[in-house]
């Protein structure tokens, strides 16, 4: 297949590809072959850490048979990439860590099994920060993923954000029709904003965490990264739903999210939180935020200034809660039941050597801080204090929702994508500040969608974020669509990697 005929198929949105398949314009096998060719040509992006071409073609063939039999599912024949946090049966799953480099799960995560049940096709596993700990995908054991976007007139490689950076890069480069990611502090929304794609973190409990590598269990949620709001709605509808195997998964019907795309937002009250106007916010981001408010106002929404007074404490509280939970969750990597083992004189030395060799620098740092804040004498000062602050952060949102605010509009990130190596200096906190606008939602369990809304002066995508009430995803899809219609979609025009 020539590059141009391949691109005719891969440039279709998921929604358009599904329509083309349903109407018989092309087959799932042809679509999958086009993506496999595009992936092969995109090695420079390092977005995939594993491709599964044979499995993909088998799944596509089965999809074609179901189209012929009239039993096609809602995602039938749609080729997807999956973040390496999701266990995929018989397909190596590493969380991009050396400690799991040969792990082949004997089971499938609930979220991915829902996607396959609805007919989707697995193209491969996507790059990420090790154990989802990072905001740039530089901490992957497979090396950094690269953003398909470049600054105008520059060939400097930029990060795709993180931790779901491989997912966002792959969606933006059109080497998958959509992707499944995970978001603990912003790991879906920040990379979506850096790559001009749409990403939604649903309400805590909306998607099952079963079979997803655990980072911080009270914050982790799965969600899609996609090329349009409608594509994200289609994916989330398949991913969400109750699962008895995750005790925090809610038993609530999953709405038809696609029906909410294009619904009127007239009369919706949108809060603009003054505390998000942080010191040093770039004038470009501030202008984008105003532009987003104007787009929603134009569509009939009412814009209201609000206050979320504990905003500035969300990030420090997050770094206590998340790291404490991580130190506990990652205790399982001990070289006994799975993963790599480094022998020692006795079992303790075996544990210590195994973990020293298997974990990268950022993971080691986070596990150690988490261990410290949970250690005897410090638990109350750090962990208990952070959980109290978390109650206050959630209360801030409850207060504005009770006053009639339907959703909150904020920037997704403090800046556009930065260069590889630019923020990996001596102070880890510099990278942590990437999550300043996204982390509050994880702390409060709320849903949030990142939608591209413009380009920076250097030609890089910028995203806005809408934050909803608990289980208010439908409203976010309606509001996100307003922004997408007003701002347009953003495609990489210079396909330099091909």
């Amino acid at each position: 297949m020539s590059t141009s005929s391949r691109h005719e198929l891969t440039r279709l949105t998921l929604t358009a590809a599904h329509e083309g398949l349903s109407e018989g314009h092309f087959t799932a096998t042809e679509l999958t072959q086009a993506y496999l060719g595009a992936i092969e040509a995109a090695g420079d992006l390092n977005a995939y850490v594993l491709t599964t071409p044979e499995k993909a073609l088998d799944m596509a063939k089965a999809s074609d048979a179901r189209y012929a039999a009239g039993t096609a599912g809602p995602l039938e024949g749609i080729p997807l990439g999956i973040k390496d946090m999701f266990a995929t049966e018989g397909v190596r799953t590493t969380a991009c860590s050396n400690i799991l480099k040969n792990f082949v799960p004997p089971y499938e995560s609930t979220v991915t099994s829902r996607l396959w049940k609805d007919g989707a096709v697995l193209l491969g596993k996507l790059n990420q920060d090790e154990f989802a700990m990072g905001s740039s995908t530089e901490s992957s054991a497979f090396g950094a993923a690269v953003n398909p976007w470049r600054r105008t007139g520059s060939a400097q490689p930029l990060v795709p954000g993180g931790s779901s950076g491989g997912s966002a890069a792959a969606v933006a480069a059109q080497i998958c029709a959509g992707a499944a990611g995970t978001d603990t502090g912003g790991s879906i929304r920040q990379p979506a904003a850096f790559t001009g794609t749409v990403g939604i973190k649903p309400t805590y409990g909306r998607c099952s965490r079963w079979g997803v590598v655990a980072y911080a269990s009270s914050l982790d949620q799965a969600g899609p990264i996609a090329r349009s709001v409608n594509d994200a709605a289609l994916l989330l509808r398949s991913m969400a739903g109750h699962d008895p195997k995750d005790s925090t998964s809610v038993d609530m019907a999953v709405p038809d999210y696609e029906a909410a795309v294009g619904a009127s937002v007239k009369g919706k009250r949108i809060g603009i939180p003054r505390e998000y106007r942080v010191d040093g916010m770039s004038p470009e981001i501030a202008a984008l935020w105003d532009k987003g408010a104007a787009m929603l106002r134009e569509a009939g929404a009412e814009i209201v200034d609000i206050s979320l007074p504990h905003t500035k404490y969300a990030l420090p509280a997050y770094y206590i809660v998340a790291l404490a939970e991580a130190s506990s969750n990652l205790a399982r990597y001990d070289g006994v039941r799975y993963g790599e083992r480094v022998p020692g004189r006795d079992i303790v030395e075996m544990y210590e050597k195994t973990r020293a060799s298997g974990f990268g620098d950022e993971v080691r740092r986070r596990v150690m801080v988490g261990t410290y804040v949970l250690s005897a004498g410090y638990y109350d000062a750090y962990y208990l204090k952070a959980q109290k602050v978390r109650t206050l952060i959630k209360r801030d949102f409850e207060t504005v929702f009770a006053e009639g605010i339907d959703a909150v509009l904020a920037p997704a990130t403090p800046s556009p994508a930065f260069g590889i190596g630019e923020k990996s200096g001596a102070d880890p906190v510099e990278m942590y500040l990437q999550d300043v606008f996204t982390v509050t939602l994880n702390m409060a369990g709320l849903p949030g969608i990142a939608v591209p809304a413009g380009l920076s002066s250097e030609g890089l995508p910028l995203g806005l974020q809408l934050i909803g009430r608990p289980f208010g995803e439908e409203g976010l899809f309606s509001l996100g669509q307003v922004i997408e219609e007003a701002a347009g979609r953003f495609e990489v025009t210079d396909r330099w990697w091909e």
Partner: protein, 95 residues
């Protein structure tokens, strides 16, 4: 609060991560940077505030106490670095 090098070694041992002497000073700096950053929580008045236990109000579901899964030891052991006779194998832990 900040940590000294002895604390870094103690925490590394609690976390079961071997650290070399060269790494201790470096880790001390990084850990202290993170701890200094979270220090600002001290400004927040949390008197009488309940710590969060569940971000979405829900009761823990219970299921019937019956065996519903299992009986595939070979799959459970498939990724083990070492196994013997249907068990995980580890260095001797009892003298």
């Amino acid at each position: 609060m900040s940590v000294d090098q002895a604390t870094v070694r103690r925490v590394a041992h609690l976390a079961r991560i071997a650290v070399t002497e060269d790494e201790v000073a470096h880790l001390q700096g990084e850990l202290n940077a993170i701890l200094a950053f979270v220090e600002q929580l001290g400004e927040v008045d949390t008197d009488g505030v309940e710590p969060m236990t569940s971000v979405i109000p829900m009761t823990l579901p219970l299921r019937a106490d019956v065996v519903s899964d299992g009986f595939y030891a070979e799959r459970v052991l498939a990724n083990a670095p070492a196994s013997e006779d249907g068990f995980f194998a580890v260095p001797k832990v009892v003298e």
